[in-house]
């Protein structure tokens, strides 16, 4: 008997288990929340040290990115991420992990075409489309400005 792709799709769906969302979502919430809480603590610490709000924000990002790169290098970020899922993916630490991991990995292919070329394989789209979206917003602002002035 011949098995049609439609039938096989149903068979596959029946057999393949779904991700355990009842574990994954709370874990993502807890670990993601904890990273954000750390960010809030750092933010207040830098403000307490006398930095203006936007500078404190920048230093918070820099500190979190540093910690993420360090944990990535030590191989710990991946171990936390296995349980945290989006909890370690969505915060800026996930972005830093997405930069550090390919950089470390590509070292065997050299500094230019290895590290240099591969460093943005994961984070590149984030920067590109984030910037592109902000440019679209900027165009809207300019147009609005043009008609309101």
């Amino acid at each position: 008997m011949e098995i049609k792709p439609e039938l096989y799709k149903d068979m596959t769906e029946a057999v393949s288990p779904k991700s355990k969302s009842y574990v994954n979502i709370p874990m993502a919430f807890l670990i993601g929340g904890a990273i954000c809480l750390l960010g809030e603590c750092l933010l207040n610490l830098f403000e307490y040290m006398g930095l203006p709000k936007d500078e404190a924000g920048s230093w918070t990002s820099i500190t979190l990115v540093f910690l993420s790169a360090l944990l990535t290098g030590l191989g710990w970020y991946e171990r936390i991420a296995k349980h945290a899922g989006a909890g370690t993916l969505v915060p800026i630490t996930g972005f830093a992990n997405g930069v550090s991991a390919p950089a470390i990995e590509a070292k065997t292919e050299g500094w230019i075409l290895g590290v240099g070329a591969k460093i943005f394989t994961i984070a590149g789209p984030v920067i590109l489309y984030g910037t592109a979206a902000s440019v679209v917003y900027g165009i809207c602002l300019v147009v609005v400005k043009f008609f309101t002035e």
Binding site: G32, W59, L89, I92, G98, S134
Partner: protein, 118 residues
């Protein structure tokens, strides 16, 4: 004290949305991250994100939606000051610290660490 609780809850909730996308859609992590940044730009443009930051602080700035907000914020400021040129200069100016830190520490990590097996 309350601001820390809000930072935890809002930050955690934004991450939980990401987990729902991972578990219930076939979206890859790179797509989800890109989506979050673009969503951040959009929410900021609609004026929704700043109030969220006022409540949650790090809970809204640390997730990548906050990165999108930063891009939009920079554009807003530069367009105000420089007009058309602001479209080109605003986004990356405001987010420069985070991006440069990621590149720099990524490069340093590559220099120091060896890839580890699992």
């Amino acid at each position: 004290m309350l601001e820390y609780i809000w930072a935890f809850i809002i930050g955690g909730a934004i991450c939980a949305v990401g987990q729902v996308l991972i578990d219930y859609t076939k979206l890859t992590p790179a797509r989800i991250l890109t989506g979050f940044v673009v969503a951040g730009v959009l929410l900021s443009a609609l004026g929704i994100y700043q109030p969220l930051i006022d409540v949650a602080g790090g809970g809204a700035t640390v997730p990548l939606t906050g990165f999108g907000h930063l891009l939009a914020e920079g554009i807003r400021k530069d367009v105000e000051e420089k007009g058309l040129l602001g479209i080109f200069s605003g986004g990356l100016t405001s987010s420069a610290a985070g991006i440069t830190a990621a590149m720099l520490f990524g490069l340093a990590a590559a220099a120091i660490f060896k890839p580890k097996d699992k």
